[in-house]
Each structure stands twice: as C-alpha cells, then as structure tokens.
Symmetry: C2
Subunit: 344 residues, 2 copies
DNA sequence: TTGTAGGCGTTATCAA
DNA sequence: TTGATAACGCCTACAA
C-alpha cells in the first residue's frame, strides 16, 4: 500500500529554515522558544496538516500513553460499563485504551497479557477469566515493569492494586433482607468457586444464616448456576426437593435469577408470596420483569472511574513495587417486588 | 518511575556473539537464518524473557497493527456486540483494537479521530454520533492515508467502505407484518433525521403504507423518540389523539418500544389486541417483557466480524482511493406476541 | 533562543 | 548465512 507521506517536524523545520528540535520544542509548547517562532511553527504545522507521530514519540520516551484492559467479555453489561467508566477518565488524560477479551479462557487471557506487554502499555487492568488457574502471567506483568490493577475477579494471593466490590457484605445484606421478609429456607445459586468473588458471595450467604441462627443446608446450595439455563435447571432441582426452599438467592447473576423466575412462572408458583428471589448485578432488565427483581447494584461505571483515577492519582508516577492500594466500591441492595413478601 | 530495563535483540545478540540483525531475522522467522543459530536465538530469547517492542517495530515498519474504533457508546448492547465481533477476528490476526466513544458528540468524535490518526492506526472503524454534522473529519482520515470503514450510522455522501444493515427493507417488512396482522393506523417513532439510518427506517415505513394503500398521516409520525422516556411521552401523545393509532413501530430502538409498552400497561390497553408494538435491535430484554416484543435483529456480532473481515480481505493491502466495498447484513424481523393480533 | 548530535528498538538494504 | 549500517520520527542533553 502506498501511503502519501505524512508531514514530520523536519518538513516544518525545512520550510521555516529552522531546526527540527526547535519545532519539537515549539509543539511541546513548554520549553524555551521565542514566541515569534513558536507562532510561526504552529501556523505552518496547521498549514501542512501536521499530525504528531505518537509511535515515534512513545518509542523515544520509552512509554506508551495507553492502558490495556483484559475482560472476559466486552459485550457483557457489567464489563462494558466498567470500560466506559475507564474511558471517560483516560480520555480526559489523553490516554488510549486497548481492549482484549479473554472469552473466559485462561489460555487466551495469557495471550492477551502478552500482546499488551509487547505494546508496552503503561498499565494493565484485568478481571480474570472463569477458568482462572495460576497467577504467573500477572506476576510477569509486574516483573516487566508494567503497572497492574485488578478488579472484580481478582487473584486473591497476588498483592497488587485492586478495585473491588465488598461482595461478601452485599450478599450478607441481601440474605438478611430475605430473612427479614419472612423467608427461612433460602437457597443459594453459586458461581465457580475458583473465583474469589463467588466464594465471598457464598460466605456472605452463610454469614447471614448464622447471624439469624438458621440451619445451613447443603441441599440448598447449588454449584455453578450462573447462566439463565443453569439457573432454570437448578431451580427445577430445588423445587423438586421434598422440602423446597421459600427463597432463592442467585448470587451469580441476574440471568440466573431470571431463570428462577421463569421456572416459578411455569410452575405457577407466586413470586414473592411463595418464592422470594434476589439476583446480582442490577442488569437493566431486572426492572421490567414481572415482578421486578430484587438485586445488587455494583456501580460498574463508578468502578471503571475508580480504576482510572487510581492509576492516575496513585500509581502512575510510583515504582511498581511500592504500596498496594485497595479501593472498595460499596454495592447497594436494590429491593424490588420479587422479595417483598411483607408488603403483600 | 524506574523501569527494569527490558531485554532487546541487542542483549540476545551480545550474549551469542551475533549481530542484532541476525536476531531480528531469526525472530521474524522467515528470512535466511541457519536452523542452528535460529534455535539458539529462540532459546536465549526465552531465557532472557525477551518481549518484542511493538512500538519500535511499528515505527520502523511505518504501520501500526491496530484498528481504531469510534462508537457513540461502548456500553450500548449493539455497539459492544459489534466490537466483540471485530475483536474476535482482529485477535486471530494479531491486531489490536483501540476504542473511543464519542458520547454522541460531534466535537468529541473529531477528537477521537485525531487521537487515532496520531496513533497511526491502520484503519478507523466508525459509527457516527447523533449530532453528526459534517464529514470533513472523515475525509481527513482518508487524506492521511488511513483506511476507513463506516458502519450502521454512516455519512451518506462520503464514498468509503461501509458495512450496513438494509434498514429500509427491514422496516418495510416490519410495518407490512403489522398491516398483515390487521393493524391499519400505524404510528412511527422516528430517530434523529440527520442520521441516514433513521431516514431509511422512515422510508421503509412509508413504503409499506404506500404498498398497502394506507393513508400517510403526519400526526402519527413522532420525531426524536428514541429513549424509553421519549417513547413514553410520544405514546401518551399518540393515545390522546382523537383518532389514536392501533399499532406503534418504534423504529428507533427497543427502549422506545419498552416505553410504549409501559404506557399501554398503565392505561390498561391490551397488547397486542388493542395496540400492536414493534421495536428495533433485538435487545435481550425484548424476550422477557410481557408480552414479549416483536423487534428486528441487526446481527451486531456478525456485523463486527464482517467489518474486520472486510478490512483483512479487501482493504488492507489496497490503496486508499480504490474500490469502495459495501457489505450488507440483512436484518431479521423477530415476530413475538406484541404484534400478533391474528393469533389471539 | 537556537542548532547539533545521538539514541529509543526495530527492520531493510547492502555488502561480505 | 551473517554483519554493518542506516533509517523510521521524535526528544533531549549539550553546545553555540
């Protein structure tokens, strides 16, 4: 492909009988250049339609004004909102973002990290894939001298900057709310327990049961129920129990909660009278189900902004090895009709 | 910030008493290097944890293996699906994507374009903002020797590669379907008419009315009704008419259609018996409203893949000025209960 | 205030 | 098959 040659600082310099370094200084607009020549340079730069070559600049300066982001799926509400939040801040700071998706595969996650390292990004922001196994690849990022911020799904044993939801407390609150509404046999839909966030949500559930002296029943805790379909299957199982639950906390996602609701409607079980439901994530559809779903808002957009701000304010100019900062965004229980037995 | 120095090809060369150019050749793994030395080089590269510096490589090669994407909002279902589709392909080709959002602002769109041009991306993929005014900034991209692919919301007068839905035909089909279901006073919720896709959707609506010899009524066409709230307001107005519509085609979005449904429910108007509804975009929630919404699937993920494939197969190695390719992805009418009066 | 020169890490060309 | 060298476009000591 033949590209029309771009104008460089040399072209500007030549036209004005100046040296390229003067042009560089003028365009950086901080150093010592006489006002006259600076104006002249800026004027001809515009005339010649000069666009700075960031690649060259980055190579010279040894850094890329870019933040790399790795998420399981770009087109999942939660993650796209986090990304949008990050972008809002990075844009103001004239940083770029490069986005990769791991597709919930550890293997691809490793490859994504490699790409970003090769691109010399200044910082990598990551939420790990579901089949997260080891954290060597993340350690390697730090070893390469690249900043690392983990969010949401984090490697618990790796001491890095993190932006988290207090997911255990939120789960505790949700289950406590169900109990206070008069539900006493509360089932749990669990996510993959290799991810700490799902372990924490389970811990919150157990904590609430203990707090209210309710029995802990293994039959009521269903593993890996984190899609609508798996939520449906789990619900079928639960409702077929000799002693079925009177409420289900879909700690994995609102999609699972939707699965619960679907099965309840199919079986003509009244929600919330006969079955209470609580989901997780405050997906937009939870408002419009019938009845609307109680759920937990994670403030994904705010998390994104927190991640970016953490980088610019606390991390950017520090050494890799110092001071890990943990930011906690408090999630919020959104109480809707699907769990309000008392109100009926 | 003090970075631990990365290993370069020189480090490898020094260790092996070779020249950097040999190392470069070995790593590029195509040119003429003896197998023995190549193996040696690859081995020590791994030992020294060598990571290629893509920035330097890109500078030297005068091209960035990166595609820049500009969309109104990252966290809108349609766009995040398109992006996910693009990423699937670019990832295989070892390209990166840089994503910017214009936030529906023309001003920010121009700035995004500039950033991407400065980053020397190989190609810019764009869907314009709602207050799209001029296409100078897009023309400028081409003038800079950067490939341009427009999708969905395109500048109609700018002759570039485009990936489109045949939105007029889809609208025509949708309205024809409503007519065939027995609705005869069909209202239209319009999007901003400065965007060609919304003009086309209106054209499809008018085409269907003409085809079936139905009168065209200005009162039934509501401008700028493209959010849930605006959809609600528009519906209130329409239902207050002396001669209200018996169906509403929310050509702008499913969110607007949801607004229609909300107002209908509030007024105890039965859907689809008394009011037919059709939305646009096949958002995930349309399946679970009560009744489920008839809508149009745009195959956003497929569009994303088509965009990326178009670039790699048709554009990448050609000159900017030659052969504009237009790819049409046929959208599909998804018929659900909200428009099926006949079935009742 | 301006000019000179060297280098960031690669790759491409030419010569050996 | 390998080595030497220049160049991609920019920035920054240092000298003038």
């Amino acid at each position: 492909m033949i590209l029309p040659k771009r104008t460089t600082i040399y072209d500007i310099a030549k036209k004005l009988n100046l040296n390229a370094s003067s042009v560089s200084r003028a365009l950086a607009n901080n150093s010592n250049v006489s006002e006259a020549t600076r104006d002249l340079i800026l004027k001809t730069a515009k005339e010649l339609n000069y666009k700075p070559n960031r690649i060259a600049s980055n190579l010279r300066k040894g850094q890329n004004q870019t933040i790399g982001i790795v998420v399981p799926r770009i087109n999942q509400n939660y993650f796209s909102n986090v990304i949008a939040g990050i972008e809002e801040i990075t844009y103001q700071k004239r940083y770029n973002i490069i986005i990769c998706q791991s597709n919930e595969s550890y293997q691809k996650e490793v490859e994504c990290i490699n790409t970003l390292v090769n691109q010399q990004v200044s910082c990598i922001v990551i939420s790990t894939s579901a089949d997260f196994a080891k954290d060597d690849h993340l350690q390697a990022v730090l070893d390469q001298g690249i900043h690392l911020v983990q969010f949401d799904r984090v490697a618990p044993n790796l001491d890095t900057h993190k932006v988290l939801n207090d997911t255990q407390e939120a789960s505790m609150e949700a289950v406590s709310h169900l109990i206070n509404q008069g539900y006493h046999r509360i089932a749990l839909l669990e996510g993959p327990q290799n991810l700490s966030i799902f372990r924490e949500r389970k811990a919150g559930y157990l904590e609430a049961l203990r707090k209210y002296n309710l029995p802990i029943n293994e039959d009521l805790m269903i593993e890996n129920a984190w899609t609508k379909e798996l939520g449906e299957k789990a619900t079928e199982m639960l409702l077929d129990l000799p002693n079925p639950p009177d409420a289900i906390f879909a700690s994995t996602s609102d999609f699972a909660a939707l699965g619960v609701l679907t099965v309840a409607q199919k079986r003509n079980i009244k929600v919330p009278q006969q079955l209470g439901i609580c989901g997780y994530a405050n997906e937009s559809f939870t408002e419009i189900t019938n009845p609307p779903l109680t759920t937990i808002d994670q403030f994904s957009n705010k998390m994104g902004k927190a991640i970016a701000n953490l980088y610019f304010e606390e991390i950017k100019n520090k050494q890799i090895s110092t001071s890990r900062k943990i930011v906690n965004i408090k999630p919020e229980l959104i109480i809707r009709a699907s769990s309000q037995k008392n109100k009926i």
